[in-house]
């Protein structure tokens, strides 16, 4: 099981650009880009709350648990 960040989907739904979100939640665009790509070890509750507040959504709208694809 792994956690996938659906931030790009929520950004598209809210018609908000990454740059604007980064400014509103107070993190760099580079870190937001890493978060969108799922290239971070974790997310602080503080950041999650700020994103939910800015995008008017729930943590469940941003994060999804998917089964690991082990391949053959």
């Amino acid at each position: 099981m792994r956690i996938v960040v659906r931030l790009d989907v929520m950004l598209a739904r809210r018609k908000m650009r990454s740059r604007e979100l980064a400014e509103r939640i107070g993190i760099t665009e580079a870190n937001l880009s890493l978060l969108k790509a799922g290239k971070v070890k974790g997310m602080r509750f503080e950041t999650l709350a700020a994103i939910c507040d800015a995008l008017d959504c729930q943590p469940g709208d941003l994060l999804e648990a998917v089964a690991e694809d082990h391949g053959s």
Partner: protein
């Protein structure tokens, strides 16, 4: 003075010490084996009523140089630590490793002081007839103090290692 300048200076000093130490040992061995007469002016006519043989004198001097080895190792690690600082790598596992090594080298230097003195005395008096050989064993308060400083530095390095791991873990969080 910047970290990189200090690192370069310490590195040069370390290499100079290594070269000096190696030359010192080579010179002492060569002096004792090839030109023992050259040692004559340095040898005291009598130590505690005993005569000193040139080879034993050179061996004792070489043994006393042993204590410089950990000091040079500490110097090399200090140079590498400063070079890391100059590159901006301050709170890293590598920096903590260098600090631990400096602490360990100081502790080893402290522990080596007593056996090196014992070895020098034993080598110096080894050629004497039985009953006139000396085995000196002792540990000075300076050695103990140095051991404490080395241990403390090692502990700081160990604490820094934990801090570096925590920092690396936090760096992965957004």
């Amino acid at each position: 003075m910047t970290f990189s300048t200090l690192a370069r200076a310490l590195s040069r000093l370390a290499w100079f010490c290594i070269a000096l130490l190696t030359l010192g040992w080579v010179f002492l061995v060569a002096q004792a084996l090839i030109w023992p007469d050259l040692l004559a002016p340095d040898i005291p006519p009598e130590v505690a009523g005993m005569t000193v043989v040139p080879l034993a004198f050179a061996a004792a001097r070489a043994a006393s140089l042993l204590t410089l080895v950990p000091a040079v190792i500490a110097l090399v690690h200090a140079a590498r630590l400063l070079a890391d600082f100059a590159r901006g790598a301050v709170l890293t596992d590598k920096s903590a490793h260098h600090i631990r090594r400096i602490g360990a080298a100081i502790a080893v230097r402290a522990l080596l002081g007593a056996p090196a003195k014992t070895l020098s005395t034993a080598l110096l008096t080894l050629p004497n007839p039985p009953g006139r050989q000396i085995l000196s064993i002792g540990f000075s308060s300076d050695g103990l103090e140095m051991l404490i400083y080395g241990g403390l530095l090692f502990l700081i390095g160990a604490a820094m290692r934990l801090a570096a791991r925590a920092a690396a873990e936090n760096a992965g969080f957004v």
